[in-house]
């Protein structure tokens, strides 16, 4: 008997259907049914985290390095044991002092350490993350040729270095949009001139366009997942497994 055993698969699917009904019940109102499945969900999640924290992180990242590795066949040392990893334990213990009324300040040492590392990484990665985006925002604003207003179809796959009027206009819109939105996020001056005021207002409006577009493209995914759930309940479970229809 293995995991593909039909009876077992049926049990498993039914469990999934029950979970669906239980959690969806919150759409009607927060009933005891929902509360039951919510707490089960939280329990399973906590349990799984406690399992994964060892099997996925600590065992290799910490224990494995502390006690080293030995090759089963040869019995030779694969990796030496680096005993200073043991210092992690008292380090972590400091954080647990947070529950002590008197010594809770100690917990700020390991946490400060983690915060420091996080901050350092922010500096390290900052440009790699945003530099390319700045570069990509540098656009050619003046058309190099007026031979055609729009981009002509590509001839035998040769890249055309020219910038046509339509492209130039699009680029202009791009840069203008960027500036307007940036100006909306200026906090420390009151814009006196009407032009600047207009810019930041425009910035907010263009942001709304961006948000609208995001909304539209996200809706599909969300609906797709819901449809999938319904497909699981009606077609895969009820239609195929229970009613055995084709």
């Amino acid at each position: 008997m293995n995991l593909e055993n039909p009876t077992y698969v049926m049990i498993k699917m039914t469990a999934g259907v029950l979970a669906t009904v239980g959690l969806y019940s919150v759409l009607y109102r927060e009933t005891k049914l929902y509360r039951f499945f919510e707490h089960m969900f939280l329990g399973l999640a906590a349990g799984w985290s406690l399992k994964a924290i060892w099997t996925d992180t600590l065992k290799d990242q910490w224990w494995g390095q502390m006690v080293g590795k030995v090759d089963e066949q040869t019995g030779l040392m694969k990796e030496p044991a680096v005993w200073p990893w043991a210092f992690v334990v008292p380090m972590a213990f400091m954080a647990y002092l947070i529950f002590s009324r008197k010594h809770n300040w100690i917990s700020r040492i390991p946490l400060g350490l983690l915060i420091g590392l996080g901050a350092g990484q922010t500096f390290l990665n900052w440009f790699n993350l945003y530099g390319p985006q700045m570069q990509d925002s540098v656009k050619v604003l003046i058309p190099t040729t007026f031979s055609s207003l729009t981009v002509p179809p590509v001839v035998n796959g040769q890249p055309d270095p020219n910038v046509y009027l339509s492209q130039a206009i699009n680029n202009l819109i791009f840069v203008a949009t960027l500036l307007c939105v940036l100006s909306y996020f200026i906090f420390c001056t009151e814009f006196k001139s009407r032009f600047l005021k207009g810019m930041s207002t425009a910035g907010r409006l263009v942001l709304m366009v961006g948000f609208g577009a995001i909304f539209g493209s996200t809706v599909m995914t969300r609906f797709a997942l819901f449809i999938d759930r319904m497909y699981f309940v009606w077609i895969e479970w009820l239609w195929r497994s229970v009613l055995h229809l084709s």
Binding site: G47, F87, A119
Partner: protein, 304 residues
């Protein structure tokens, strides 16, 4: 890295033979020393405490700052002798990086216990004091316990010699079924259910919010509408056939630019991406500033 070969190298002060008594002694010793240090810290005067925390934070940050500022040696190779001191330090930085990240991860992982303690203190308290909803706390405790039990049981029974989890040809044992039912049957399904429930909320939120009340909401609504229509193949095709009756693709620029996918991509390229990008820049700088304040401990209430 390639094993075995390392056996030829002499063990450094920080290393020990795996499984040897020496190793265990050293480990225990390290733990004891660590706790003694903690005990000593308990005695530090209040005035000094913030300084200690700030110092630790600064030094931790400094490590990555050096990674960032120090000239990085080209084609780093741990088996080679650095040419000069600058390169030597860069070698040290690059060599220690895996251990530092592993250290941060292990420390962070060990803190999970704090969270679990908070959970248990709430639920077990409710359970033993028979407070309202104690039954659901029981459900919580039971499902947590069983997930831990079967999670580990299954994991141990399916350990390969390399210590990796054999996701493939798994023996069909009882713990394996129990774990699979709890994990794939319930947990993963519940994940999917909560993910899919968002569809309902999008629906009600859109119905409530998308009113032609202000310019802003109108713009939001309009763009969302265009993009959504552009995603409905049925609509796109019918609109296309309609436009094709006016002019074949490529014949008229105006007609072509009326096609839904064209409009959608134009909006996404020339309005969405720059506006969102500008917003990202703002957030990025905000994050940079916050990181800076944290690193230098000039942010009130965190380090002191």
């Amino acid at each position: 890295m390639i094993p075995l070969a390392q056996a030829t190298e002499p063990l450094s002060f920080w290393q020990a033979e795996p499984g040897s008594t020496k190793m265990w002694v050293l480990i225990v010793w390290a733990v004891v020393v660590g706790f003694v240090a903690v005990a000593a810290l308990l005695r530090t005067p209040t005035r000094v405490r913030p300084m200690i925390v700030s110092a630790v934070t600064f030094l931790a940050g400094l490590y990555f700052v050096l990674h960032w500022l120090w000239p990085t040696a080209q084609d780093y190779n741990p088996d080679e002798v650095p040419r000069n001191a600058v390169e030597g330090f860069s070698f040290w930085l690059q060599g220690t990086l895996p251990s530092v990240t592993a250290f941060a991860q292990s420390l962070g992982a060990m803190l999970l216990g704090i969270g679990i303690y908070s959970l248990l203190s709430i639920h077990l308290g409710r359970l033993f004091k028979r407070q309202k909803d104690w039954f659901f706390s029981l459900v919580f405790a039971l499902s947590m316990a069983s997930m831990i039990l079967f999670g580990y049981w299954d994991w141990i029974t399916r350990l390969t010699p390399e210590g990796a989890k054999a996701a493939t040809d798994a023996p069909s044992l009882f713990p394996h079924f129990a774990k699979d039912l709890l994990f794939s049957g319930l947990f993963i399904n519940m994940d999917a259910v909560m993910f899919s429930i968002i569809a309902f909320f999008i629906f009600s939120a859109a119905y409530r919010a998308f009113r032609i009340r202000s310019t802003e909401s109108t713009i939001l609504l309009g763009t969302a509408l265009i993009v959504m229509l552009g995603l409905m193949g049925g609509v796109v095709v019918s609109q296309d056939t309609l436009l094709n009756s006016l002019a074949k693709p490529g014949e008229s620029v105006i007609v072509d630019s009326l096609r839904l996918p064209t409009i959608r991509t134009w909006i996404q390229d020339n309005l969405q991406s720059p506006s969102i990008r500008a917003m990202e820049f703002g957030l990025a700088i905000g994050g940079l500033a916050m990181a800076l304040r944290l690193w230098l401990s000039i942010e009130k209430g965190v380090s002191h």
